[in-house]
């Protein structure tokens, strides 16, 4: 019996069935299948919510281990664990006990700790991009020169310090956006879509088994 349950065909059939339940009602009007698709979507949402708890447990385990082993920068793991517990407790949906997302302490930590830290992480990009542009935008050959010219026009067109005295930069940027960029991005998008369709068909037919443990080759 256990051998039967471990057969590779079982997950392949489940995958194909679940995928077809989602795909068919998207293209055809089958009310019965639509109901099944909606139920399957609700199951996915339940699994996603359960996965949040798995994530918390996993994160806790990883950082507890780092603290126990005094790994590099283990001190930061303590900060992470403490704040994770504090935020989880404060944000717990028990409004009667003064907890929940609207409570003062939670809002304080969100607005004065998490919010500035998140914004800082994003803003650091500005420094990296400046340094990267300085090194990458160099006219070493024709291709690089084209990228340099297009990139510089787009950078300048986004800054009022340039466009206020040279408004034609906005028109130039619009042309770059509408013609070379749109064309290239359309090709990339369609290529990726065709690749996704091929992958989906292979998965449906049981040829693509990468999502199974070990690729299902046993």
């Amino acid at each position: 019996m256990s051998d039967v349950l471990r057969r590779i065909e079982i997950p392949l059939i489940i995958t194909a069935l679940v995928a077809l339940i989602q795909v068919i009602p998207y293209y055809f009007d089958f009310p019965a299948l639509q109901g099944a698709a909606n139920t399957a979507s609700d199951w996915v949402l339940l699994i996603v919510n359960a996965a949040v708890f798995v994530g918390v447990i996993s994160l806790g385990q990883v950082h507890m281990r780092r603290v126990q082993r005094r790994s590099t920068h283990w001190e930061y793991s303590i900060v992470l664990l403490v704040l994770m517990v504090v935020m989880a407790i404060l944000g717990f949906p028990l409004e009667g006990m003064g907890l929940g997302l609207q409570n003062e302490q939670y809002q304080f930590l969100f607005n004065n700790v998490y919010n500035p830290l998140g914004s800082t992480m994003y803003s650091i990009l500005a420094f990296f991009i400046t340094s990267a542009a300085y090194r990458a935008f160099r006219a070493r050959n024709i291709d690089a020169a084209l990228i340099l010219i297009a990139g510089t026009i787009v950078v300048m067109s986004n800054a009022p310090i340039f466009t206020s005295s040279a408004p034609f930069l906005i028109e130039w940027k619009n042309w770059i956006f509408d013609v070379p960029n749109a064309t290239t991005m359309r090709a990339v998008t369609m290529g990726a879509a065709l690749g996704s369709i091929a992958l989906a068909v292979r998965t449906l037919m049981g040829i693509e088994r990468g999502y199974l443990r070990g690729g299902g080759e046993e």
């Binding site: 949402l45 310090i161 206020s164 619009n174």
Partner: protein, 286 residues
Amino acid sequence: MRSRMSLLEKMQNIDRRYIYLLGWIFVLFPLLNPLGLPVPIGRESRQWKEYIDNIPSDSVIVVSLDYGVSGMPELYPMTVATMHHLWSNSQAKNWQIVVCAFWNQGPLVFDTLLSQINPASAYGVVYGEDWIELGWIPGSETGMNSFAVDMWGQTPTDYLEQRPLSQYPMMENIRTAQDVDLIISFETGTPGLPEWLRQWNTPYGVPIIVGCIGVSVPGMAPYLDSGQLSALMPGLTSSGEYEILINRPGLAVAGLDAVSMSHLLVVLLVVIGNIAFFASRGKGGS
């Protein structure tokens, strides 16, 4: 000769720490001494304003905050400006605005917005009649699909008052994607426009307009071109232009001088690097 080559090499390889320091100075300077440069209006911000101005009366508008705090520097100003624009017209045009989020920090971002704007006192709009906030809808694209099929089932209660949707008059006729006339999504990634298109635009024909961060803008071009995306608000500069267009200068306008100076630094560094590159090549350098 050797010292000249050395200078050219240095100009091509400025230590990144000096670049970071220059970046910090260039951004800090206009924050301390605002330049107040004139801001030419680009087509995207103009189209965005015109699109919102032309939303038909009695429309149901879903506003989705699909970003977290890391996206706030760029997306929050346009979110604030758009909500001002929507609320200021919602009673005259009888719009009904449903705020939601497919990113879990979206509702917290909107909390920040509500701590700065009181829509009831500023615009006289009534919560539950003119607008409602449904909070975070988990499940990414699957959540979008389920929300389209059964909005009440996905969010049985609202976010702000935690009451059943049946208690809100405006929700009586808003139950599926077929009842929605427009999606306004502010987004930094996935789920974002492609997921909206797959789950709302293609099956139900709901138009969508998107505000996104600068790095996402090139990827939006094909969807604008095809008409699947009806308007685009690309990044902070356009947000500033939009604030000017709606006569409500705010966070984005305040940040435009910093944007100008940081872009000026990039251009200066690129020019310096290329001058040094060509000069050293002319002198037999690499």
